[in-house]
């Protein structure tokens, strides 16, 4: 039997190439992800270890923060500045250095914030070169307040060298000039990847960054003092307020946090790899189904001469196993290539990766082979079962590919309706406040199953609809259409692969567009302001700016909006502090209570959904607390009265406080934005120029109109959309391989027919055009279904997100039209090779009757 299988494989190996490629690509995504993330992990671990190499003891804030903690989230627990001297006097300490980090924006030659590289930081240069978390690579460390050392990537991008001067804006918002004395290298491990870093002497760093504490204090022991001994000494000296770790412990902890962080990244990538694998499985299932149909006579002959059903079944399974195995091996190589490209790309954008060779472990290889082989075998289970149903009598009959669809048996309809209902139920039941993503995914999968069963019903009307514009075109398009609908279940499952990808792309696009539209419509409707002042990067507008603007006497409304992490009855939230009139004049939909008393101070307005979720009622007094900024500072907390709940305004946060409350408890927090409406007695242009001259001394500040502000708020949404689409690209590519595959398979079985058409007078070009039209139809059927399902699904999601402020359902029609047209073109492109082969068919084959 094994021999039969192998000879069978050989004889139609060409027909399996495309589907093997599909599996190989799916596997390559998995392998690429694993190799790349493993390489990244190792590089980061090495870089951590390098940074930690000389450290005997590290002191960290009690509240554990990972080395990667989000820098833009503002203040986080720190060690008080005074602790440095406290530890310095502990016996056994030879050298000590505190990690002091805060915002510091470098200006380019034109005086604008340098935005070429991600975030921008100022740090205190370690006092001793043995502390390697920042290393001077050329020049020297700054020795006075006028000197600075800057990371080499930023210097290269700005075309600056040692000896040049550079302008840097700190927490004050004002620019200062420094002389560059050194180039530094900040490891990726420090969480500084693609950031600009400026290192100052400690006192300058404190002033520039406004930092009030250290994120970590590192200590080197005197010779002869062990790490544990020194750690004990320090712990005894400072008490339980901070965590004391030995260098060895710290290295281990850093390693774990790297692995944890990398796993999240890995899982996100892998979930897209899974989508690719599912699409590849569809392609494989389709191929085996077609092969089984094409070989039904051969199989019947096998049965006739005594092969059992079991033998037939296992011959197909064995065949798919061999194909899956080979494809997996190929996939591993492609995966390595992908990882290599990603790695090179990462290096070239200056992510500061230490050079590590690609990490391909045995377990990765085994994983890849398993994924590819098991997927292929599972995908061929159903076709193999179909193969066992070929009756021996079929050996006498002739085979036609037309109308071999299995028809709609009661069982199939029951399956379809069952999975549609269950899928719909799962999705509906899991939407809402406590949405469960896995359940929704399972529901989506079930709906896909029912789509696969019902899909064939839609093929004919869709194909007729889609080829309508071409109706008068020519006989070739008509033939192409007829070929597409001759076997609706095959057409449906071919295009289903594309449907999956496009459903997801459409879903992301529509939700993103709805989000963007909701944000902009709310802002444009509720914030009819002339100017909005914001700061570049993650910096905020310094609190003093409002006072200067007020002094221009040019504005009738000056409203502030700031945010900070706070706790309300112990629940952490990102709270908004705003000028009361900003909330009141924006006319939010008040669900309960009244917002008129918002001006009174010590009152809080909650979003409807937040209040419901945590059962806050109007009139109840809640405790708001500001988390400690350094471990020894007290937590300021104050009571506030819930005066109203509002809904439908996505612009505000769940918890909104009068800005005066913010100022009272943490005056250092700047504004996210200042909204300005020009006074009626001053011409708009005068107001604009007065505003501009006010903020001129703050290089990071910008006064823009509302549209620009909307863009700033929505740009992240569009970035995420682009990323999702890019990650789905491989799945889309696989589905187009599926289309090419189905077409070439059908050319194998339609050789005679094509020969006949050639004999009757279809030119080569016409044959090729006919097949290209089939490709276009298959692709556009898949695209249209995907786009439709995607729109429906995203409508559901938008409904659910209504409470979160997505109030507008916006379908980006031109974008979807582009997807549709691109899908059609790609379908045409996918059919190029099959079409070329078909055009080569000699008319003579129609007349020879063997086969």
């Amino acid at each position: 039997m094994f021999k039969t299988v192998l000879s069978g494989l050989k004889s139609h190996s060409r027909r399996l190439i495309a589907s093997s490629l599909a599996v190989a690509l799916g596997v390559s995504f998995v392998i690429g992800t694993l190799v790349f993330t493993n390489t990244l992990k190792l590089a980061m671990i090495q870089s951590f270890a390098q940074g930690d190499q000389n450290i005997s003891v590290a002191v960290l804030p009690r509240v554990k923060t990972s080395a990667f903690s989000d820098r833009s989230s503002g203040k986080r627990p720190e060690l008080p500045l005074s602790m440095l001297n406290e530890i310095k006097s502990v016996p056994g300490v030879e050298a000590i250095s505190g990690q002091l980090i805060g915002p510091a924006v470098i200006l380019d030659s034109s005086g604008h914030a340098f935005s070429g590289r991600g975030s921008q930081f100022g740090v205190a240069m370690p006092s001793d070169s043995r502390f390697k978390w920042i290393e001077v690579t050329s020049g020297h460390a700054p020795i006075n307040g006028q000197q600075v050392a800057v990371d080499s990537n930023t210097l290269a991008t700005l075309n600056l060298t040692i000896g040049d001067t550079i302008k840097i804006v700190g927490i004050s918002g004002l620019a200062e000039t420094y002389t560059i004395v050194g180039e530094i290298n900040v490891g990726l491990a420090k969480g500084f990847q693609s950031s600009s870093v400026a290192a100052f002497v400690l006192p300058t760093a404190e002033i520039v960054t406004g930092a009030t504490g250290y994120r970590e204090i590192d200590v080197i022991a005197k010779p002869g003092i062990s790490q544990t001994q020194l750690a004990t000494n320090i712990a005894n000296a400072i008490g339980p307020s901070a965590v004391v770790e030995t260098g060895a412990q710290k290295t281990l902890n850093d390693e774990n946090s790297v692995i944890q962080r990398a796993s999240a990244f890995e899982n996100a990538l892998l979930s897209f790899a899974v989508i690719s694998i599912i699409v590849a499985a569809l392609v494989i299932a389709n191929t085996f189904r077609v092969l089984v149909t094409q070989r039904s006579r051969e199989l019947a002959l096998l049965r006739l001469i005594g092969a059992s059903k079991k033998q037939v079944f296992f011959s197909i399974i064995l065949e798919s196993g061999v194909v899956g195995f080979i494809a997996s091996i190929v996939g591993i190589f492609i995966g390595l290539l992908i990882a290599f490209i990603l790695h090179t790309l990462f290096k070239s954008i200056g992510a500061g990766l230490p050079s590590t060779s690609l990490q391909l472990s045995l377990s990765t290889i085994i994983y890849g082979i398993l994924v590819g082989t098991v997927t292929t075998v599972v995908a061929s289970l159903l076709p193999a079962r179909t193969a066992t149903k070929v009756s021996p009598i079929a050996a006498f009959g002739s085979y036609s590919d037309t109308n071999v669809g299995k028809g709609f048996t009661k069982k199939r309809i029951a399956w379809a309706i069952g999975s549609l209902l269950l899928g719909g139920f799962l999705i509906l039941a899991n939407l809402g406040a406590n949405a469960s993503l896995p359940m929704i995914a399972i529901g989506g999968g079930l709906i896909l199953v029912s789509y696969m069963i019902f899909g064939p019903l839609f093929v004919k009307p869709l194909a007729t609809f889609l080829s309508f514009p071409f109706k008068s075109f020519s006989v070739t398009t008509n033939l192409g259409k007829l070929n597409t609908i001759r076997n609706p279940s095959r057409a449906a499952s071919t295009s289903a692969a594309l449907t999956i990808g496009l459903t997801l792309v459409t879903l992301f696009s529509v939700v993103a567009s709805s989000l963007t539209a909701s944000i902009s419509s709310t802002i444009l409707k509720n914030f009819p302001y002339d100017f909005i002042v914001t700061s570049a990067g993650a910096n905020t507008v310094p609190p003093t700016v409002v006072t200067s603007i007020t002094k221009t006497n040019s504005f009738q409304s000056i409203y502030e909006l700031r945010t900070a992490n706070m706790e309300i009855n112990g629940i952490s939230v990102n709270a908004a502090g705003l000028t009361p009139n900003l909330l009141i004049s924006s006319n939010p939909t008040v669900s309960s209570g009244s917002i008129t008393n918002f001006t009174n101070g010590n009152s809080v307005v909650l979003s409807d959904s937040f209040a419901k979720k945590h059962k806050f009622t109007i009139g109840s007094v809640v405790t708001i607390s500001v988390p400690p900024t350094t471990i020894t500072s007290k937590t300021p907390s104050f009571p506030c009265t819930v005066i109203a709940t509002v809904s439908g305004v996505n612009f505000f946060n769940s918890v909104n406080l009068p800005v005066s409350v913010f100022t009272k408890y943490d005056p250092s927090i700047g504004d996210d934005a200042i909204f300005l409406k020009a006074s009626k007695i001053v011409p708009l242009s005068t107001a604009a120029s007065r505003l501009q001259s006010t903020i001129d001394s703050y290089p990071l500040l910008r006064a823009q109109n509302v549209g620009y502000y909307v863009n700033k708020l929505t740009s992240n949404v569009n970035k995420a959309l682009a990323l999702f689409t890019a990650l789905l690209a491989l799945a889309l590519l696989i589905s187009f391989i599926g289309i090419a595959n189905t077409l070439s398979l059908s050319i194998f079985e339609r050789t005679k027919e094509i020969g006949l058409l050639r004999a009757l007078g279809l030119t080569r070009t016409q044959i090729s055009r006919m097949l290209k039209f089939e490709g276009i139809l298959l692709a556009t059927i898949g695209a249209l279904s995907g786009i439709t399902i995607g729109i429906l699904a995203s409508y559901g999601i938008v409904l659910v997100l209504h409470a979160q402020g997505v109030t507008v359902f916006s379908v980006p029609i031109s974008l979807l039209v582009i997807y549709f047209v691109v899908a059609g073109l790609a379908g045409m492109f996918a059919s190029t090779i099959p079409a070329r082969r078909a055009a080569k068919t000699s008319p003579v084959v129609a007349i020879s009757y063997e086969g």
Binding site: T402, K752, E753, R758, G761, Q766, S842, V844, A846, I847
Partner: protein, 247 residues
């Protein structure tokens, strides 16, 4: 030899070698054949299996290239034509009938019949179409797909398709090979009538002496060469000639 106005199709010193000439594995399917078919004639080609009948037919129809020699249909020399021109020539001037797989499975009978006209963008002669479907008794089958028709009906649809464009010549390779004798005879009757009443030219390959007896002349092939021609054949004279061939 110039092609003349009475000639529908002619092959002059035609040789066809499969594989590379000179190599031992090459097969000379027909060698140095000359045959001219006058307009309005019904020619049958017979011979043992492998004698080169199909090859001769393919080459005369312009489906395959000769290794040497030339073929003309009407007044057109096929050797001068590229693939596109050959294809266009086939659309309008050549009709085909095969033993099986004559019809496109996706088209119904009417679409199949009209396919040559659709391809060449020609006007449909409705009277001619009605006449043909009456003659071939397929009027009530016009909306059926091929798999809904019997073998005889399918062959009659194929005959209608071959005749619809009034081609210069119809090539048929064992058109009755899959039919029982009754439907075979009625098809041959129709083919002969189209020759005698409408002036159609037909070249038909067959193994069946009865089928050959419907033709005006029977050309006998052996080892790729014409060895005999039987004029005004009867079933008996054809069988005799075949026996002579075998000995």
């Amino acid at each position: 030899m110039d092609s003349n106005a009475f000639e529908a199709v002619a092959i002059i010193n035609g040789t066809k070698v499969y594989g590379t000439v000179g190599l031992e594995s090459s097969v000379t399917a027909i060698s140095n054949i000359s045959l001219s078919v006058a307009k309005g004639k019904f020619i049958a080609i017979m011979g043992p299996s492998g004698s080169g009948k199909s090859t001769l037919l393919h080459c005369m129809a312009g489906l395959d290239n000769l290794t040497e020699g030339k073929v003309s249909i009407g007044s057109v020399d096929l050797s001068r034509l590229g693939d596109n021109d050959l294809t266009k020539l086939r659309r309008s001037y050549v009709g085909f009938m095969f033993q099986s797989f004559n019809l496109l499975p996706t088209l119904d009978a009417k679409q199949n019949i009209l396919l040559p006209l659709t391809l060449s963008n020609s006007k449909i002669d409705t009277d001619w179409f009605n006449h043909l479907v009456d003659l071939l008794q397929i009027k009530d089958r016009l909306n059926h797909k091929p798999f809904e028709m019997s073998g005889g009906q399918q062959q009659r649809v194929a005959a209608a398709r071959a005749l619809i464009s009034k081609p210069t010549v119809i090539f048929a390779d064992e058109p009755t090979g899959n039919l029982d004798s009754k439907s075979g005879n009625s098809l041959l009757e129709i083919l002969r009538n189209s020759v005698h009443e409408l002036g159609q030219t037909i070249v038909m390959v067959t193994h069946d002496a009865n089928a050959a007896s419907y033709a005006d002349e029977v050309v006998l092939l052996k080892d790729g060469q014409i060895v005999n021609i039987v004029y005004s054949p009867t079933q008996k004279s054809v069988i005799d000639a075949l026996e002579l061939l075998g000995s």
